[in-house]
Every structure is written in structure tokens, then in C-alpha cells.
């Protein structure tokens, strides 16, 4: 196929052929990623489950992400409160800081920040680990030892991410709101009791649920991108490094895109 398009134009790349080939390659890639995702999801949702691996991944993905998620959330919450205060000040609406902080964190920022931080920490880590296994023939070895990589490697990561992300987001929500409260009370002279009461009054289960549902999807995206890029990593340290970078960028973009789509969806159905 490559021969036909280059030889016709006498050695110069034909821009039409080039675009066509790029488009085809893109569709082929989307097709492969979809197949991979389907097989992973199927392995994750049907027995037998590898509980030992699942537990290991829950610790690796969930537990060890707590510090980075907590720190990011507190700063985002604080910055949010500060900005809303400054913005609200212009038309005398600064008393709405607690309301907007809790809304913004639960519906949007808790999940997005967690998703983005884990796209860095978790996706790149998974891609590097699986990529290294691929290039050192460990994935081939798994197959010859009658272990299916989808069940042994990918499904536990997928499940662990989908299960722990909502918990992490819940924690990010709480810490994020706390960050807003800290700044409001200690820097912006809000009354602590009033701030907390306003937050509680404005907090709804629906808003929290929106964030948590997003989190499940982000978890899937994060694990899938890491596993997929890792599993097709090419040989050598550069190959593995490339897989890690590609997976991280891919996961971050997909998390943001999915976030937009999900936000639109929830607004449409009136939640």
C-alpha cells in the first residue's frame, strides 16, 4: 500500500495519499483501541477474577495516589475560593464563595483534578511497567504459561482504577472544600460556622454523584490508555519511554474530553 502512493507521484509524497493514509491509520488505531478496551472490559466484568492482582493494583493505584490527590485538591480549592471572592467582589457577591466552591469542586474540579493527576501518576506508570514487560518478552512468557494478559495484567488495573477513582474523588471533594474553607476563614475573614453551614446547605447528593460517575469513567480511561500503549510498546528504553508519554498525553486529553461530554450529558438530563 505504501508503494502505490509514493511511486505514482515520482518519489514526492502525494499530499492526498498522505492525508488518506493518515486518516486510515487513525481509524485503524481507534479500531485497535476499541477492541483492546472491549476485551479488557469483558475480562474485568466476567469471572475468574484475579483477586491478588486486583488488590495489589488497588493499593498501587488508589492508596499511593492519596498524597498527590489530597495536595492538588487543597490547592485547587484554595485558589478557587480566592478567585471567586475576587470576582464576586466586583458585584457584591462575595458571600457566595462557599456555595460556588462546593459546587465547582463536587461537580467539576474534584474529578477533573484527580483524573489529570492520575493520568500522570498512574497511566504513565502502567504504560512503563507493561511496556517493559512487553519488550523483555514477559508478556509472551505469560501467554506460554497459560495466563491471559487481559485477565492477569489489564483487567485488574482497569477494575482497580474504576473502583478507586470514585473514592479518591470523594476524598478530593472533601479536601478541596476544606481548602476553600481554609482560605476563606484565615485569609478572607469569613465566619467559620457560617461558611460551613452555607456549604452544607448548598451541597447536594446529585452534584456529588455527578463527580463520582465521572470518576468511574476517568478511571477506565486512565487504566486503558496505560495498558494499551504499554502493550504495543516497541523495543528498547526509547520505546517504553514513548509509550509512557503517549499514554499520559492520551489519557489527559481523553479525561478532559470525557469530562466535557459527561458534563453536557448531565446538564441535558437536568442533573
Amino acid at each position: 500500500m505504501s508503494d502505490a502512493s509514493t511511486t505514482k507521484s515520482g518519489g514526492f509524497p502525494n499530499p492526498l495519499a498522505w492525508t488518506g493514509r493518515g486518516t486510515l491509520a487513525l481509524f485503524a488505531e481507534i479500531g485497535r483501541l476499541s477492541m483492546f478496551s472491549g476485551r479488557t472490559a469483558l475480562s474485568a466484568l466476567t469471572p475468574p477474577w484475579n483477586l491478588a492482582q486486583l488488590w495489589k493494583q488497588i493499593i498501587a493505584i488508589g492508596f499511593y495516589s492519596l498524597p498527590v490527590v489530597g495536595l492538588s485538591a487543597v490547592f485547587i480549592g484554595a485558589a478557587l475560593a480566592l478567585n471567586i471572592y475576587t470576582g464576586g467582589n466586583r458585584f457584591g457577591a462575595e458571600q457566595f464563595v462557599p456555595n460556588i466552591v462546593v459546587l465547582g469542586i463536587t461537580r467539576e474540579l474534584g474529578a477533573t483534578i484527580t483524573g489529570l493527576m492520575l493520568a500522570g501518576r498512574v497511566t504513565a506508570g502502567i504504560a512503563a511497567e507493561i511496556g517493559a514487560m512487553k519488550v523483555t518478552e514477559q508478556i509472551d512468557a505469560l501467554k506460554t504459561l497459560s495466563a491471559n494478559p487481559f485477565r492477569y495484567l489489564y483487567a485488574p488495573r482497569f477494575l482497580a482504577a474504576a473502583l478507586t477513582l470514585p473514592l479518591l474523588v470523594l476524598i478530593a471533594d472533601i479536601i478541596g472544600v476544606m481548602g476553600g474553607w481554609l482560605v476563606s476563614v484565615y485569609a478572607l475573614d469569613f465566619d467559620s460556622t457560617t461558611y460551613i453551614r452555607n456549604t452544607m446547605d448548598f451541597l447536594t447528593m446529585e452534584d456529588v454523584a455527578v463527580g463520582l460517575i465521572k470518576a468511574v469513567i476517568f478511571g477506565m480511561v486512565i487504566a486503558l490508555m496505560g495498558c494499551y500503549q504499554g502493550s504495543k510498546s516497541s523495543a528498547g528504553a526509547t520505546g517504553v519511554g514513548r509509550a509512557a508519554t503517549l499514554s499520559m498525553v492520551g489519557a489527559a486529553v481523553l479525561v478532559l474530553a470525557a469530562n466535557y461530554i459527561l458534563s453536557t450529558f448531565f446538564v441535558q438530563i437536568g442533573i
Partner: protein
């Protein structure tokens, strides 16, 4: 004639313009030891990976126990893999697991053997490759290259497979350990009745373990015969390889 346990018929495999296998025909009888010779980069490892279904041939057929497994992804191939042991050239140990968990991997995962029993068997098999129980709890990264190779060997034989692929089992080992590995391969074949396909550059090892020897050159099996005839093959390529001469019909493609 008994049915071969493994048969490759006209297997071809290319990577882009690199035509590695160009119609490999070979078969392995149950309980026999076949050694495959061939220059570096001639496609020996690729041949094994095709046989195992880790790569799909572009053309040709692979039969295991008479059943076509060329493109099979299901039960037949699974059944085949549970009867084959593979020693990868690179060892391919799982670096997140300890040495004994590597050796016992199939027992622990596919066969659901109790951990304590699996560990016992793993240590027993480590002994066969001249490794003590003291390495059992170490990680692959903490042992030497030659030791890793032997751990991988122990992993390949622990379930007493019917067919074992050894991709350069003695490379990187001292002569004494290498000879112990040769004995181990012989034991698998003679005592346990396994068929073995061994890839090696080590002529001493080839002479010792082979019932038959085959030579892979330019993507085809160009000679095959009983091990006793390796010095009278009447084939210039084989002669050059056996005597390790740089001048002859086999020249590096530069």
C-alpha cells in the same frame, strides 16, 4: 511412523521487507530431541514464536499433535500451551515476582496449586538447575544473568511438559553449569519422555543433547539428519557452522 507432536509446514514470516522465514518445514517426534542450528539473526527465535502462537505466520501451517493451531485462539491453543514449556532466549522472568514464584507461576495461576506445595516444587526444580533454596526469595534483578537463565529453565520444565523449547539454554553459562544443563535436557527427554527443540550455537551441547540436528539458513531448513552424521553432512553450510569458520558459503548480509 508415529504422529509428530509438532509440525511446521511451509511457515513464512516477514517483518516489512525482511523475509525471515521463507517456508520452514520441520517436525518433531514425541520423546525425541531436535537441535536447530543457525547463524545469529537467521530466525530461530522467530520460528519458535510462530510455533507457540506468539506470532502468526504469514503463510504455512502449524500442527500440534495433528491439530491445526496456526490461527487458533481458543481451546486448542490453550491445550497446546499447557503441554509446552518454553525457555526464552532472554529468560523473560517476571521481575515483580520472586524467583520461586516465577518458577511456580503456572502451578500458582493456571493449575491453582496451594502456595506451600508450589513453593516446595519450585525449590525442587531449582535444585535441578543447580540453584539453592537461598535464591528462592530473591527477585530476578538480584541474581546474575546465568542464574536468571537457569531459573527460566526451571520454570519451563516444572510442569513436566510433553514438548519443551530451549532457546539457547547454555549461552552465558560456565562450562560446568552448561554441561549440567545438557544433562537436564537429556533427563527431560530420556526419563520423562518429553520432546525437545533446542536452539544453540554451542556445538558441544548440540552433540550431547541431540538425537537429530537441523540447520536453518536463509529462512529454510537446509539440512537435517541424525546427530551422528553432523560431521559427514556433505553440506558446506553445515560444515562451515560446525567448524566455526568465517570463510565459506555463509556470509553476513552487509
Amino acid at each position: 511412523m508415529t504422529q509428530p507432536i509438532l509440525e511446521l509446514k511451509g511457515v513464512e514470516k516477514s517483518f516489512g521487507s525482511n523475509h525471515v522465514l521463507r517456508g520452514v518445514d520441520i517436525d518433531v517426534a514425541p520423546g525425541r530431541s531436535l537441535v536447530v542450528l543457525g547463524g545469529s539473526g537467521s530466525g530461530k527465535s522467530v520460528m519458535l514464536k510462530n510455533a507457540l502462537g506468539l506470532m502468526t505466520p504469514d503463510a504455512g501451517k502449524i500442527l500440534f499433535d495433528g491439530k491445526d493451531v496456526t490461527k487458533d485462539q481458543g481451546k486448542t491453543r490453550e491445550a497446546m500451551r499447557s503441554r509446552i514449556g518454553m525457555l526464552f532466549q532472554s529468560g523473560a522472568l517476571f521481575d515483580s515476582l520472586t524467583v520461586w514464584e516465577n518458577v511456580a507461576f503456572r502451578l500458582l495461576n493456571a493449575d491453582k496449586v496451594k502456595r506451600s506445595d508450589a513453593k516446595e516444587q519450585a525449590i525442587e526444580n531449582l535444585k535441578k538447575v543447580r540453584l539453592g533454596a537461598s535464591v528462592a526469595e530473591l527477585r530476578p534483578a538480584e541474581i546474575s544473568g546465568g542464574m536468571q537463565k537457569r531459573v527460566a529453565l526451571a520454570r519451563a520444565i516444572i510442569t513436566k511438559p510433553d514438548l519443551i523449547f530451549f532457546d539457547e539454554p547454555t549461552t552465558g553459562l560456565d562450562p560446568i553449569t552448561a554441561d549440567a544443563i545438557n544433562d537436564l535436557i537429556l533427563e527431560q527427554v530420556k526419563a520423562l519422555g518429553a520432546a525437545a527443540v533446542t536452539i544453540t550455537h554451542d556445538m558441544a551441547s548440540a552433540r550431547k543433547v541431540a538425537d537429530e540436528i537441523a540447520m536453518l539458513f536463509e529462512g529454510k531448513i537446509i539440512w537435517r539428519g541424525p546427530a551422528s552424521e553432523i560431521d559427514r553432512s556433505g553440506n558446506d553450510h553445515v560444515d562451515q557452522f560446525v567448524h566455526g569458520r568465517a570463510d565459506g558459503p555463509i556470509q553476513p548480509s552487509l
